[in-house]
Structures are given as structure tokens and as C-alpha cells.
Amino acid sequence: MKGNSVTSESHAVRFILITCTMCFLALFLFLPLAAVFAEALRKGWELFFASLHEEVALSAIKLTLITAAISVIANTIFGVSASWLITKFSFRGRSLLLTLIDLPFAVSPIIAGLVWIFLFGSKGWFGPWLTEHQIQIIFALPGIIIATLFVTFPFVARELIPLMESQSNDQEEAAITLGASGWQVFLRVTLPNIKWGLLYGILLCNARAMGEFGAVSVVSGHIRGKTNTLPLHIEVLYNEYQFSAAFACATLLALLALVTLGLKSLVEGIQKSETKDRNPLH
């Protein structure tokens, strides 16, 4: 830890700062994580696996995986198209689109859930029409997916836009002069240049899609074994005082977080070593 002499502080100050940060991290990050695992295993491994094997738990896991898979695929396609549109073209409404992408970040989860009830609920705008055609969106899988899509919508685009903005258009233009079609340019030039940023965005999107609680809770209806995602299932267990089972399921989400962070730092490491090789001229 060598700082330059102008900005470096005395040893005492540095020691206090480090200690404060460490205590804070231990108290607010490490302790809860440890608590999750400790509580989950308090009554032994057997009960731990049993609570994960329960039928309602398995159905919650399945629902979570389906929701995450669909959201990640849809938002990857959306995120890449939106970033492409925003960074490679200038058009009317560009900055409006840029702002709208951030909307899910800015809006409270309860609103993110309620809007869909207003739209698709039985008393909502499209409610009567949906009932008439026997389509159920709210309190069913489609509603959960829509709410998750909405909440996770900015992750990929937000990751890609700054990256693509920092890269000039030169390589794409070069590919076009060499006769590449739009699709070939995208697959063979643009995509390889953004792959790490894209992967990072997908990771974050996935973590959020699996972990989303608020908006999904509003539209899900909490039907056990049917419309409970993993986070909702954990809440139900907790409310029924089944602490060990609740924490056992919580370990899955905690592991997901750890794996996401691990992959994230791996991706960042690769990205950094790739840019470090690069000559500053290029």
C-alpha cells in the first residue's frame, strides 16, 4: 500500500480507517452470511437436505429457474439491441430511451408489481378481456415473468452502453468496407468486443432475476407449490416458524450470490489482463 507522499495519511489515520471498514464489513456483510449457513445447518445436514427436497421447495426452485432463464434471455436480447441502437445511431428520443432504461432502478418494487395488477388484474385495464379469453397473467407464471423482466430490464443495457460508447465505430466500418453484412458485423466484430461486459451484465441480471422479491411478491399470489419463487418460499417458511428450512433455502440464494461475485471478479480479471496487453496506441 504505497501512496504518493502528498495524498498518503499518517499510519494512525490509515489504521483507524482500515479497522472501521473491516468492522463494518464483518458486521454487515460477513456476519449475516455466516448466520444464514449456521442457522441452516443447526439441526444437521439431514434436515438441511430434507427441506430442500420437499415438493414445494423443489417447485419453488423450478419456478425460479424458469423465470430467471426467460428473463435473462429476453433482457439480453433487449439489452444488446438497446445498447446498439443508443450507441451506434443518433435519433430523436435517444436520451428519453436512455432515461427510460433506468426506470426500474428508480421505481419502488411495490410499484413495479402493482402496475401489472392495474393492467392485467381482474379489475385492471385488460382484466375483463383476459378473463373472457381465459388467460391468467396475475397470480400465475406470466405475471411473475413480466414483473421479473421489468425489474431486471436495465442490467445488460447499463453494462453495455458505456462499454460500447468507449469503443469507436472503426472496426465495424472496416468490416463493412470488406463486404460484411450487418449480421456478420455484429457476430464477428461487435460481439467479440463486448463479450466480457455482456457476460457481466448477464450475471447481474441472473442474480437479480433469481433473487427478486418485492415486485414478484405483489403479482405472485403466494400459491404454495405453484406461484412461489424461491425468495417467496423462504418468506412463507419463515412466517410459519420453520427457521431451519427457511435458512436452508436461503443458503441457495446466498450461494448464488457468492458464485455470481466469484464469476464477476474472474470476468473482470480476464478483461483487465486483456486490456493490459493492449498497446496504448490501439
Binding site: A174, L178, G179, A180, R188, P192, N193, L281, H282
Partner: protein, 330 residues
Amino acid sequence: MSISIHSIHKHFGSYSALEDISLEIPNGSLTALLGPSGSGKTTLLRIVAGLEFPDEGAGIIRFHGQNVSNIPVVKRGVGFVFQHYALFRHMTVAQNIAFGLTVLPKKHRPSRGEIRSRVNELLDLVKLEGLAKRRPDQLSGGQRQRVALARALAIRPKVLLLDEPFGALDAQVRKELRRWLRQFHDEIGLTTLFVTHDQEEALELADQVVVMRNARIEQVGKPQDVYDHPRSPFVYEFLGNVNKVQRHGSEPQYVRPHEIEVLFAAEYEPATDQLARVTHLFSAGPVASLTVRLPDGYFLDVQLSRKQLDELALGIGDEVAVRMRIHGAA
């Protein structure tokens, strides 16, 4: 293939980048678009390539008589070398060069073996044998430029367009590559158009120099002609190495440093000469340069051979007579 450009206009919003540009580029020539930044030279190059479209209207671009104005860049068949080369940095040198061949539709695409031999042929041509497996970030600036050139040539382009080909290189490499590019052009004989803001580069390298300024063409001609007979004060000054003398209320007059004769003050002839005082002397190498001050306050840069300087045995502050052929700019 000759390039013929006919009354091209280009606006970016309210900014006029090109105004009524017409230009003939003979088959097989090496032509320089020379001008300061903002003169429109790069825009013109990009329009010839099809990367930019001229304003709607009468503008036409022909390659060898064929109107290509409506042919999109993908199909126009130009070799374009970008200022910073725009190499695909996730591909090897060989993959970069092969790119234009591998994106051809299946029925026109050469076999893998044919592509490989074409790549090797091009690597030989640009003197990069043995670097096929390297990645762009493992190459020097000059090598990158040659990869970009080989990549552009792989599609057998009709014309070659280079945007500031030496702009990103340091002075030493620049000189070397300039000589190499001239020789290379003479070997392959492809009609080539390049953009530069460096007048020395344009004059030394090109068969034809197009001087541009403020969205217009100022002058077109052989380097010698443009240098010896500049048609406007701008061309005179932009080509560099010139003394400007503007006396009160009169047109500016120009004289190049080597066109000034320096004599002993004793040889002063009032009809042709002016008396001046030496204010600066620099003599390293075969050419010496000095600065003299005329009685009316103008400074003139003068170039003479080292031998002449030694004969005159001048020092700072000495009085001399200068005899010069002054040009108007017309």
C-alpha cells in the same frame, strides 16, 4: 481504375463540410488530399468509399466511368485503411487479412486452402511473413498499418483509400513507410487516394496533390506545379516555407527562403536589392538558414548553402544586401 467526382456537396446539419467538389483522379495514380483539419478532406474520402453519402442532388461518383453513387459501401469494392487501422483485435493477423474473403456468400467464397494461400501471398507483399499468428496488440504501429493494408487488398479492391496513413506513427517510422508505400504503389499500380495534413508528405509521395480548404478545393496539380505556382495565398502559406511580405494597403507578396540571394552590403544595388541585418544564424548540415530584418521591420527566412554562408562569413548583426524575386499570389 480512375475516380471521377462530380459536384459533390455535403452538410452535417447546418455545417457545410464539402461545397461543390469536382475532381478527376487518373487511373493508377497516387493522389493526396491535402488540407488543414476541418477542410473536408476526410469527408471526401469517406464519400468516395461510400461510408458517407453526399447531399441529395447532382453529385456523382464514378469508378472508371461507372456511376457508383448508389452502390452501398458493402458492395462498392474499395480498400479502406483507417487512420488508427481499425484492426479486429480479437483476431490474429491472418484472420484479419482473411476477413473480407470469409464473409463472402458461400457460392463466391474461396476454399480454406485458397484463402490461406491468398493470405500468405499478401503477407509476403507487405513484408510481414511469419507474423500470421500474432495479434494486433503484439505488433508495432508500422506493422499494424501494413496488416490493415493487406486486409484491404485481400478483397481485390477497385481503388485504395487511406485516411492519414502515417498520422499515428512516429517521425522515424513515418519516413520509412512513406518511401515503402510509394514503392508499393508503383508495384501494384492501384489507383490510390490518401488524406494528409502534412504538406511535406503530400509533396514527396503523391503524383497529384489536391489542396483543400474550408470545404472547397483550392488547387489541384503535380506537386512541383503546386509548390512552384500556388494559386492562392492560402496554398502559398499552407505548403510552408515561405516569407510573407505585406506592405500597407497592398496585396500580400511571397518569397521562398531559397529564392533569396544574400550579398555583401558593399554589392547593394538600389534597383533590385534591399539592405537587411542578420538576426539569427543556424548552420548544421549542408543547408544553412538565417533570418534577416528589413529596414521596415519585416523578418525574412533565408536558405543558402553552407558554402555560400562560409564565403560571406556572416555574424549576427552584420549588414547584408538581399535580392529576391517576389511573387504575388495569382
